[in-house]
């Protein structure tokens, strides 16, 4: 079916585009982007013939958003989230593609598990779901998974999330394989010997609250480690959930040296700090922990400068039993698929991030890291599209969250800006508004 989206402000950093245009979709791909047809110069009749017209005047149109760090919990933890509910959550948040992490039970360490995930993903008929394979069998860190088999059955990357591999010689050989298979390795930045019992950033605040701290060194030691391993093996290493200024410093220097690393940051690390833990509210318990306002400033600048490549949510649904306990006992994790976009739009609205950099970090860059043929609206690209109403006022409502997990610090918060319509391969995904027909 042919579709024409008219009047939107099209922001596609992959083409350096940020202008009001009309976009034509045919056979599931972007067939053209034309100057807006209106008034004395409407779109030509043959073009419009037989097409569904979607009037998106006043709205923003971007390539379908991509979140490369999501925990879908299935197989194994279906009470926390399923591929279906996670897909619905992604859709509600304006995402058209997500990568799911391998910390399932069984772990994503064989083609059978990959096939299961793909099968479940088919059934949702919505968001594109790309599996990430586990670097080691069962995530146990002792034997390499059949990486080639995982790659050929559909894994777009490998990860040791959230159990970092300790054996450096295993890691080295596995990275030689991931490089050979041309897949990135997603590294979880936690030196576990330093984080035992830790609940929040190690600082005067954790000292005052009487909570065991999580030192930044637990993250930066791993950043250094992976920089060296990437230099040694040539593997592409993607650093998950960078949270502090020192990590940014190390990454900056490594990139200057041409080392093959990329980095991601979450919406919560771009906006919240350790002071928000306040009255021991477990909705703020996450790894890496929320750090200081200085770190937040540096992370924002790093995103603007391209030192940090990607915004990714680390969507971690937790059931309420694991959060309705004391801070030390609570599970770590914040859901993010439905709140990432509005929080980022808020940063854009308050001039802390440009819309172009934000869109790049949510489309082109994540697609490039995982080598996915998406994240751009160039002619011939799959028509994966997210339409955003930047002025839509709404509130994060417990009852309206699509994820099974409700663990977000933003319950009740008023937001401005939301995805209102998405297309995946030219077919409608999210339809949160019915645009008038021409």
């Amino acid at each position: 079916m042919k579709r024409i989206i008219t009047g939107a402000e099209i922001i596609d950093p992959s083409q350096g585009l940020a202008e009001q245009r009309d976009l034509i979709i045919e056979d599931g791909v972007v067939s053209d982007i034309l100057p807006c047809g209106h008034g004395a110069a409407p779109l030509p009749q043959p073009l419009v013939e037989g097409a569904e017209i979607i009037d998106a005047t006043g709205l923003w149109l971007v390539p379908g958003l991509v979140d490369i760090h999501v925990h879908l919990r299935e197989p194994g933890f279906e009470w926390q989230e399923t591929i279906n509910s996670g897909g619905a959550s992604a859709l509600a948040g304006g995402f058209t593609s997500i990568c799911c992490m391998p910390d399932t039970v069984p772990a994503v360490d064989s083609k059978t598990v990959v096939a299961f995930i793909k099968q479940q993903a088919e059934a949702t008929k919505g968001v594109r779901i790309f599996p990430v394979g586990s670097l080691t069998k069962g995530q146990r860190g002792s034997e390499m998974s059949p990486l080639a088999e995982l790659a050929s059955s559909g894994c777009v990357a490998f990860a040791d999330e959230p159990e970092p591999v300790r054996d450096l010689s295993l890691l080295r050989r596995a990275l030689e394989w991931t490089r050979h298979l041309n897949r990135p390795f997603f590294a979880h930045l936690e030196a576990k010997d330093l984080t035992r019992g830790g609940c929040m950033n190690e600082s005067p605040v954790s000292t005052r609250l009487g909570l065991v701290g999580l030192p930044k060194a637990a993250e930066t030691l791993m950043v250094s480690r992976y920089i060296e391993l990437s230099a040694l093996t040539g593997a592409m290493i993607h650093l998950c959930q960078v949270s502090c200024a020192r990590s940014v410093e190390l990454i900056t220097r490594a990139k200057e040296e041409g080392i093959n690393i990329t980095a991601e940051v979450s919406a919560h690390h771009l906006s919240l700090t350790e002071n928000d833990v306040g009255d021991y509210c477990t909705d703020y318990k996450v790894y890496p922990p929320l750090r200081t306002s200085e770190d937040v400033e540096v992370l924002r600048q790093a995103l603007a400068d391209g030192i940090i490549d990607v915004i990714a949510s680390d969507h971690s649904p937790c059931d309420s039993d694991t959060k309705a306990v004391t801070f030390a006992e609570a599970a770590r994790g914040i859901i993010g698929l439905e709140t990432t976009l509005p929080v980022i739009l808020d940063l854009v609205a308050s001039s802390k991030l440009s819309i172009s950099k934000a869109v790049t970090a949510l489309t082109q860059n994540p697609a490039k890291i995982c080598n996915l043929p998406i994240g751009s609206l160039r002619r011939g690209s799959p028509a994966d599209i997210t339409i955003i109403d930047p002025h839509k006022e709404w509130q994060v409502d417990l009852g309206a969250i699509r994820s099974k997990g409700k663990n977000t610090p933003w319950i009740g918060r008023k937001m401005m800006g939301q995805a209102v319509y998405t297309l995946i391969g030219g077919e409608p995904g999210l339809r949160a508004f019915q645009p008038p027909r021409d």
Partner: protein, 329 residues
């Protein structure tokens, strides 16, 4: 009826200088009740106080039980050993059961910092007193220590038995807190209490047990200094508070052995004589004799340890009265 946060006592930070001093003075008046033959007053008759001690305790628990009984309240204790929490019942469900039973006050001790804060979100109609939450705070300990200190200091100065303004005895003091400050809820509450009174606080111990963060303004506001040398820390102080060194900390490599700790940081009579011969010594108990404190000091004339226990009941009576009157802060 939803209980105002102002009726809980979760942290010393909940108190103003004025309400802190008022509490100490109330405690002193209640010491007088405890000096009588019949040590009971009917003030809280018909009220129920539940002691929810999910972390083992003998002295604090008994102190609260006696305090409630002296005020004629009904006191019930649920301790970690015998309660259904061992069967896997969560703090949340325990809280809901409490709420349904309708006590007037719940006194909570728990191994995790912030547990009372969590419980407070669950209890709508019950006042809450923190009897020690993890490493965070132990406000009634800080209060009873102040009462004890006040009584000794003004007896030293004036000889008059009752009725002197606590504000004047308890100010312009230099207080040293020695030992495992890092893991101590007694220390944190004491730091806040003394800072409210404008006193100088010195935190003394090895760097693994007294991290520099304690001296940061973002940690606790006030005149707080960290010392990693015992004698420098004890120089010319009025009060030395000794904290228990726990054997369990050996597993975390906070010190190599109790012997090494005590060789450098034990509070002995000789060291006190050299640094601050007039100092008083306190200890929240139970003391590891020969480790953080020498026996001769614990049992000697400068020790307030026995008085601390006596003041505990009176102070907890004062806290119960205040919490139930709805006027904590």
């Amino acid at each position: 009826m939803s209980v105002d946060k102002g009726t809980h006592l979760l942290s010393m930070a909940d108190l103003s200088r004025q309400s802190l001093l008022k509490l100490v003075e109330n405690g002193e008046q209640l010491l007088e009740v405890l000096a009588r033959d019949i040590k009971k007053v009917p003030t809280l008759r018909g009220r129920t106080v539940v002691n929810l001690f999910l972390e083992p305790s003998t002295r604090t628990r008994i102190s609260f039980e006696i305090a409630a009984k002296r005020l004629s309240a009904d006191s019930i204790t649920i301790s970690g050993g015998g309660s259904s929490t061992e069967k896997g019942e969560t703090l949340l469900d325990t809280a809901r059961t409490m709420e349904a039973m309708g006590p007037d006050v719940v006194i909570l001790r728990h191994k995790d910092s912030g547990a009372p804060n969590f419980l407070a979100t669950q209890l709508q109609n019950t006042a809450l007193v923190n009897a020690g939450d993890g490493m965070h705070e132990h406000p009634t300990q800080a209060l009873l220590d102040l009462l004890c200190l006040h009584r000794r200091l003004h007896r030293q100065r004036n000889g008059v038995r009752y009725g002197v303004d606590a504000g004047s005895t308890l100010s312009n003091l230099k207080v040293a807190i020695v030992g495992d400050v890092r893991h101590s809820r007694v220390a944190r509450s004491a730091i806040i209490a003394h800072s409210l009174l404008g006193n100088h606080v010195r935190l003394v111990g090895p760097p693994t047990l007294v991290p520099l963060e304690f001296a940061s303004e973002q940690c606790f506001p006030g005149k707080i200094q960290v010392f990693h040398d015992l004698e420098a820390g004890l120089d010319d102080v009025d009060v030395i508070v000794c904290l228990r060194i726990q054997r369990e900390r050996l597993a975390g490599n906070f010190f190599s052995s109790l012997a090494e700790y005590s060789a450098y940081f034990s509070v002995t009579e000789e060291r006190i004589q050299r640094c601050s011969p007039k100092a008083l010594v306190m200890h929240p108990g139970p003391a590891n004799r020969g480790v953080e404190i020498a026996s001769e000091v614990a049992d000697g004339p400068r020790s307030l340890i026995r008085d601390q226990v006596k003041c505990g009941v009176a102070m907890r009576m004062a806290v119960l009265l205040r919490v139930l009157s709805g006027e904590m802060s």
